[in-house]
Assembly symmetry: C2
Homo-oligomer: 240 residues x 2
Amino acid sequence: MPDAVPAFVWVADLGEPEEQVILAEDASHHVARVCRARLDDVLTLTDGRGGIARGHVERLSPRVEVRIDTVERRKRDSRHVLLCGAPEGQRFDWLIEKLSELGVARVRPIECARRAWPRVAVRPDRWRRLALAALQQSRGCYLLQIEAPTGLEEALSAESDATWGMLADPDGAAAGGIEWPAIGTTVAVVGPAEGLTDAEKTSVLSRGFVSTSLAASRLRTETAALACACRWAATRTSQD
Amino acid sequence: MPDAVPAFVWVADLGEPEEQVILAEDASHHVARVCRARLDDVLTLTDGRGGIARGHVERLSPRVEVRIDTVERRKRDSRHVLLCGAPEGQRFDWLIEKLSELGVARVRPIECARRAWPRVAVRPDRWRRLALAALQQSRGCYLLQIEAPTGLEEALSAESDATWGMLADPDGAAAGGIEWPAIGTTVAVVGPAEGLTDAEKTSVLSRGFVSTSLAASRLRTETAALACACRWAATRTSQD
């Protein structure tokens, strides 16, 4: 049997040092059963908004109760936002997991001319569960924010304070020749499975977005989205 | 009903201009039924070894017969090789699809101290089918080469002529500070779900591999592998 896994748990509110936090039912189960925590074990908690707390277990049942020892808040100097057309099938579900692991700040599903989001594919509760699980698994401190699907124009307007934008386009400039900024709010637009129309591309480019080809071959929607997330992760030059 | 999809088909051998190529049964089905090709339609064929041919359909049934018009061979100035520990569950299956899309040359599953490849997860025929499907879907001209699982040392020795190597390591230097070479044979080592042991890491690093942290948080095996593939795709500075 492997050693107990050190627990890393999302909670809505971290509280302050010396305060007590009572974990929700599923988090209690995770800590007590999956991680097999014992009394006085140290846990790490995050609120998914940059806060990290350490605390120790004071009670295991019926809910895990944690006494907070320290709270640290991290400053975020970059935010990566993905506007993503509908991929085929249920591929968005695992994209959520990957975007979470890679530290993307926000994803906005966009309705496009060639593909709308099928109603059965839009599962906000499931998406949030996947994002929370990935946050804990990857020990991140920022929860992926998942917006409801909107039109492309509406999504672009909602992100109009971004400092840099990129359009994934097989006909764009090769990604290797383009510098992705390491700080600020940056936005990437990835079209749906059938691609964006010329009118949609023109609209994105008219806002100053850089047209970029992410790989030598044509990428599926979710692969292009992942390539953006990986590229963002690679702009990080320090271990913070 | 959408327009017919232009067909892009893998064949074992492209032949020469003016020669005739008879497609295999599944490729014939794909071209005639899925892409709904007609007589005289132009097809693109690849041998998955850098060859791209154009030809036109001379016969649709029982097999599609193609008369080759032109053959072009692309020179490959970089090869990306992934040595990959076992991820959880069946996650390697979709990793194959993503590595194929992103143009990775070769993947070697590696047996590690903390996780071996479970026999049921090793499915070479299925992997090859997935790689072929992804090659065609992404219109690439290099088929992902998938080796049988071997020990880490054996895999490293097999790639000893590589020009650069990288070890994915959460404790390594941030990826943004490291230049990935755009040419030559480059190797990335990604550990299994439970990570590499210190002895395994030492062995890899003793060969001059660079220890690199790919993201701020801990990545799953398949996510780290994907981050390498995306990073490689981003070294491409031209559209070739």
